[in-house]
């Protein structure tokens, strides 16, 4: 299974972290420091796999972002590379040619998309279309909820409570 997902920028800044196994905040910082050191140091034409502790880390660079997934020894590296690519494609579709800034300002949306893609460290949906549809449906739910909240009557009710 996938232990965690990390998005690291080329400068070593973290853009997204998702942990499927328990790590304390302290461990998380340590893991990140260790891995970004290893991965960012690797040149462009090397293989996309790194052995790390008793796990393997599969990473791929898209523009200025490194997408990293940590997997067990038995897992299939190529499959995980495909999952990463899959995730990137969905992000791309959702944001319309995604760039790092999109992920910086919509970090929670990137999480929601990831949550539709993976569950408990396993791939749950391999269809891009389905994920896009589900995300859109939830977005509209959020929007309607927000609209209700920001309607004037609601504001007045709030203020006079």
């Amino acid at each position: 299974m996938i232990q965690f997902v990390l998005l690291i920028s080329r400068q070593g800044k973290v853009r997204l972290t998702k942990w499927y196994s328990p790590y304390t905040q302290k461990e998380r910082t340590k893991v990140l420091r260790e891995l970004s050191g290893v991965i960012l140091a690797r040149g462009p034409k090397l293989c996309n796999f790194v052995e790390w502790r008793e796990y393997k880390v599969v990473y791929k660079r898209y523009a200025s972002l490194y997408f990293c997934m940590c997997i067990d020894q038995d897992d299939n590296e190529l499959e995980v590379l495909e999952i990463i690519h899959h995730f990137v494609e969905i992000l791309d579709r959702y944001f319309g040619s995604v760039c790092e800034l999109d992920l910086i300002f919509n970090f929670h949306k990137a999480y929601y998309i990831l949550d539709e893609l993976l569950i408990a460290g396993e791939l749950q949906e391999s269809s891009k279309k389905t994920v896009a549809r589900l995300i859109a449906a939830q977005d509209s739910l959020v929007e309607t909820a927000k609209e209700q909240a920001s309607s004037i009557s609601n504001m007045i009710a709030q203020a006079t409570k």
């Binding site: 299974m1 973290v14 853009r15 997204l16 972290t17 998702k18 942990w19 499927y20 328990p22 304390t24 905040q25 998380r28 910082t29 990140l32 040149g43 034409k45 090397l46 293989c47 996309n48 796999f49 790194v50 052995e51 067990d72 038995d74 299939n76 590296e77 190529l78 499959e79 590379l81 495909e82 910086i104 300002f105 970090f107 929670h108 999480y111 929601y112 949550d115 569950i119 408990a120 396993e122 791939l123 749950q124 949906e125 391999s126 269809s127 389905t130 589900l134 449906a137 939830q138 739910l141 959020v142 909820a145 927000k146 209700q148 909240a149 504001m155 709030q158 203020a159 006079t160 409570k161």
Partner: protein, 963 residues
């Protein structure tokens, strides 16, 4: 309060503001963040859900990207979870799944909220709750929510169902008894038409099977069907993983699967699936020759691919196949060895592992040669990896693969000279180990040691000090094999030994002592022979001149002992005095060295060299070197130096006498001297052998001796006791300075001993005298090139040479005939340390339950278990509350003794209070009318019910239609 809330809402910083502020960095990141955190703390307490949700969103952001602790907000997250608005819920669930863990105290509060959301009509709310549960489920949550999960496993909405399947993994993990409830539905999901659902279900089974494959053997038919029918690569990969685990357990299954797997290999275009097939074949189906052949063909394609990923994975696959089918590796030898110089360190490492897997008795020499050449030209890190793997491979199983130890020992010597070599400790260990275990190799060991010792440049590299100390020890211990002990003595006493850390320096002194004893003893023996055969002593003419010289030196030395103040003065002239006489000697040695090739001529010249003059000079030389050391700072050095010094003092007055007065037959004194020498010689000549690891165990503990079991407090005592660190090795040279009258100790850097003037002149003197031990001087006096200067190493490590060597290795496939038989290697029973079987009971609870369910329901339904299961299923379907009660009971029986869950008693007692009516009835049904109010009674009943199941579970049955 209301005003506060509105103002708060209107002027609250949103997540966007926070991110923008962070990026602008007007006031420094940490200051900005702590300010933002203060705001969030305040806002999170707000009663307005909008404010709260925005605050939590910001907090989650900071926590996930800047790793701030957000446990303080746990309760606010729980508050927000109960919001009716979807947008709030979403943020709250996200925060919860990000920050909650098993120790979060408020987890007990969210059970009802989760239940409510899991049964919600809004599928997205269900999905949120499932998503969160998959991350945070604890034992309590898993137990309490099992009925809801069970319902959702059959949900008509695919979207929800597949998430429920994903959650099952965590729920099973936490609360194994949920298997009894959910397993059947999980299996049903394997057979649905929706490929997404199948995919997730297979994923769950894959994960479960990885932990305990045996339990899932009965499901093989279902998996087989998927393997043959499915066209979805994601699913196929997972199924292959499952079969990779199951096939080794059941040979009939392996036979059945091998064809479909090969079919996939031939047919598929997807690299990931192809690789999975290959891995399955090489790891689990390696008994099927044709499958392995097919896989190796595909591996070869991967190896020559341009994609570094495929190359890396190909190498990995090869290393899996290597132990059983070495031919596969040998076939691809060329590519593997070429990969040693790949740009990617990971690929290099992988190919190194493979190369090491190829090593056998017949090719260890060639492979080591190639590897050492690669080590010469690679970066320090990889170089040491190569050296480390050569060392560990060769010493495996008490040097199992080494036949020619002479070769191996010289390889060790060569490795020590490789630039970047940092394997000093390991090489030291092996040198000494081989010396003790293999008698026949000792002459070669001494030769290699001599070569190492004699090179003053090596002393400058702290990484080699351990090797040098081993060399010193060996040449002292086995000095009888030495071609030229005088030369050895020079090497052991050379000035640059002051660079050694004190402990190692002490070893040098001790070895010098041994060499000295050996020389004296040989001399005496020789003289004894000569005396007995013919009385005409050819030494006599030398005596007068030498005698006078020696006398003066002896006097001054005696004086130095009496009055240390004078000694400082003496040091000034002593060396010169001595060096004159040594000038002649070293020339003599130089000539000798060229002539000593074979053992025979060596011993002949050795005999010649034990003249009276040479012995006397040796004594003086040692004394000169040792006396200053008796005032060293280090106890070990002082101790050893004193030993040597005292011995010389003891011997010296008698040596000349017995020489001169031999004719006058003053036998008493001569006898005394030779007696002492003989005594010492005997003391040193006892062979040291290896010690069995279990030696201590064989010594029975004497009565009355109480052994402390727990040695933890020892650590506080020994905590500060460490091996001499590198920065302590300026001791020796600072000592020189003190003698020269400089009383302020000068602290010197590691690299540069920074010799004082006195030191430099001594060194220069020495250099002039013993040019043979020094590298040609290109630089200033006393400034040695680093021992591991690549430029100085043989220039033969060109790529061309490497290629040629590699080719040779590739071409020479016939086994070289070993002319020499393998020497005896002393082995002790303790050498093979038995590998303790790892504890293997972690998953027992879960797998036990799975086995119960699978075998109990599908293959051999015993009457009892079937009624029990039926009863339970009915309960589950009929009413959730009843099934809950049921679960609670089972839980209690199974895990009543586990003390890990603190919160359990609380919820449990609560459950009992709520549902006490009807409880007895349920119980009765479950336990086949054996309900007793006391838990011990219930426990017994359950055991009885389980007994037949356990018997069944030991012989997993696979339906025959598959096999």
């Amino acid at each position: 309060m209301a005003g506060f809330s509105v103002m708060d809402t209107l002027f609250q910083r949103t997540l966007d503001d926070l991110i923008k502020g962070l990026r602008l960095q007007l006031m420094g990141e940490s200051a900005f963040l702590s300010k933002a955190l203060d705001e969030i703390r305040r806002e999170a307490k707000s009663t307005d859900p909008d404010t709260k949700s925005a605050a939590l969103l910001k907090l989650t952001y900071l926590s996930s990207l800047h790793f701030y602790d957000m446990s303080f907000a746990a309760f606010h997250v729980v508050e927000l979870l109960s919001s009716t608005r979807f947008s709030h819920k979403k943020i709250a669930y996200h925060a919860a799944s990000h920050s909650f863990d098993d120790s979060t105290p408020v987890l007990v509060l969210i059970t009802n909220q989760l239940r409510k959301d899991l049964t919600s009509t809004n599928e997205f709310e269900v999905s949120l709750a499932l998503e969160c549960l998959s991350r945070i489920a604890t034992v309590d949550l898993a137990r309490d929510l099992t009925p809801e999960i069970f319902t959702l496993l059959a949900s008509s909405k695919v979207f929800v169902r597949k998430k429920a399947i994903g959650v099952v993994l965590r729920v099973f993990d936490r609360y194994p008894d949920s298997v009894r409830v959910c397993f059947k539905r999980l299996v049903e999901n394997l057979e649905t038409s929706d490929s997404q659902v199948v995919s997730v279900a297979v994923g769950v089974f894959c994960e479960l099977a990885l932990r305990d494959p045996t339990s899932y053997l009965p499901l093989a038919p279902e998996f087989y069907k998927i393997l043959v029918d499915s066209k979805n690569n994601w699913v196929l990969i997972k199924v292959l993983k499952i079969f990779a685990k199951l096939a080794p357990l059941e040979p009939r299954l392996a036979k059945r699967v091998v064809e479909p797997v090969c079919e996939h290999i031939r047919r598929t275009g997807a690299k990931s699936l192809l690789f999975e097939c290959i891995r399955t074949v090489v790891s689990s189906l390696s008994d099927y020759e044709h499958a392995v052949k097919l896989a190796v063909v595909k591996i070869r394609e991967m190896l020559v691919d341009d994609d570094p990923n495929l190359k890396y994975l190909g190498l990995q696959a090869l290393s899996v196949v290597a132990p059983k089918h070495l031919w596969a590796v040998l076939e691809n030898k060329e590519v593997v060895i070429k990969s040693l110089s790949d740009v990617d360190p990971n690929i290099k490492l992988e190919s190194l592992r493979l190369v090491m897997a190829m090593v056998s008795e017949s090719n260890v020499a060639e492979i080591s040669r190639v590897l050492v050449n690669y080590a010469l030209k690679s970066d320090p890190e990889f170089c040491n990896l190569i050296l480390g793997s050569i060392l560990s491979t060769c010493c495996r199983n008490v040097y199992e693969i080494i036949i020619d130890f002479d070769w191996y020992v010289s390889l060790l010597g060569e490795m020590s000279r490789i630039p970047h070599c940092q394997k000093g400790e390991e090489i030291e260990k092996q040198l000494i180990d081989i010396g003790m275990r293999v008698k026949d190799v000792r002459p070669e060991l001494v030769r290699v040691s001599r070569d190492l010792l004699i090179d003053p440049a090596l002393l400058g590299n702290p990484f080699l000090h351990r090797i040098l100390s081993a060399a010193a020890w060996l040449s002292g211990e086995y000095v009888e094999f030495s071609v030229n002990p005088f030369e050895l003595m020079e090497a052991l006493l050379q000035p640059r030994t002051s660079l050694l850390p004190p402990l190692l320096k002490a070893i040098y002194i001790q070895s010098a002592f041994k060499v000295l004893i050996f020389c004296l003893n040989s001399y005496l023996l020789l003289r004894g022979d000569a005396a007995s055969s013919s009385y005409s002593d050819k030494l006599v003419p030398d005596v007068p001149g030498l005698f006078s010289e020696r006398d003066s030196v002896g006097c001054s030395d005696l004086a130095s002992c009496d009055a240390p103040v004078e000694a400082e003065l003496d040091e000034g002239f002593n060396p010169r005095d001595l060096n004159q006489s040594f000038g002649g000697l070293s020339v003599e040695y130089g000539g000798e060295e060229t002539s000593t090739c074979g053992q025979a001529s060596a011993s002949a010249s050795l005999k010649d060299s034990f003249t009276h003059e040479s012995i006397t000079n040796l004594l003086n030389r040692v004394e000169l070197a040792v006396v200053p050391l008796t005032r060293s700072y280090d106890v070990e050095i002082v101790e050893r130096a004193r030993n040597v010094h005292c011995f010389i003092e003891l011997i010296k007055p008698q040596m000349p006498d017995c020489l001169v007065q031999k004719e006058e037959s003053s036998d008493t004194e001569e006898a005394e001297a030779s007696k002492i020498i003989k005594l010492m010689h005997d003391a040193f000549s006892n062979d040291l052998g290896p010690i069995s690891v279990s030696a201590q165990e064989r010594v029975s503990v004497p009565d009355g001796l109480v052994l402390v079991e727990n040695l933890e407090d020892l650590e506080t005592i020994c905590g500060d006791v460490q091996l001499p660190s590198l920065n302590s090795f300026s001791h020796g040279s600072s000592h020189f300075e003190e003698m020269a009258g400089v009383s302020i100790p000068i602290f010197q850097s590691k690299e540069e001993p920074g010799p004082s003037n006195e030191c430099t002149s001594l060194l220069a003197e020495h250099r002039k005298q013993h040019g043979l031990y020094y590298l040609p001087s290109e630089k200033k006096d006393g400034d040695y090139p680093p021992a591991n200067d690549p430029q100085l190493q043989a220039n033969s490590n060109d790529d061309e040479d490497l290629a040629k060597l590699t080719e040779q290795l590739l071409v020479s496939k016939k086994k070289p005939n070993h002319a020499k038989p393998r020497p005896v290697v002393v082995k002790l029973d303790g050498d093979q340390v038995p590998i303790a079987a790892g504890p293997h009971s972690q998953e027992d609870l879960l797998s036990g339950t799975v086995r119960d369910v699978l075998l109990g329901s599908e293959t051999k339904p015993t009457t009892r278990s079937s009624t029990k299961r039926k009863g339970k299923e009915k309960l589950n379907v009929d009413s959730t509350t009843e099934s809950k009660e049921n679960l609670g009971d089972v839980e209690k029986q199974d895990q009543g003794n586990s003390s890990t869950r603190k919160s359990k008693p609380h919820t449990h007692s609560k459950g009992r209070r709520h549902r006490s009516p009807g409880k007895k009835g349920d119980e009765g049904e479950e336990n086949c009318q054996k309900a007793k109010p006391k838990s011990s009674g219930r426990h017994k009943a359950r055991q009885r019910a389980d007994a037949p199941l356990n018997v069944v579970s030991q012989t997993p049955v696979i339906p025959d239609f598959l096999l």
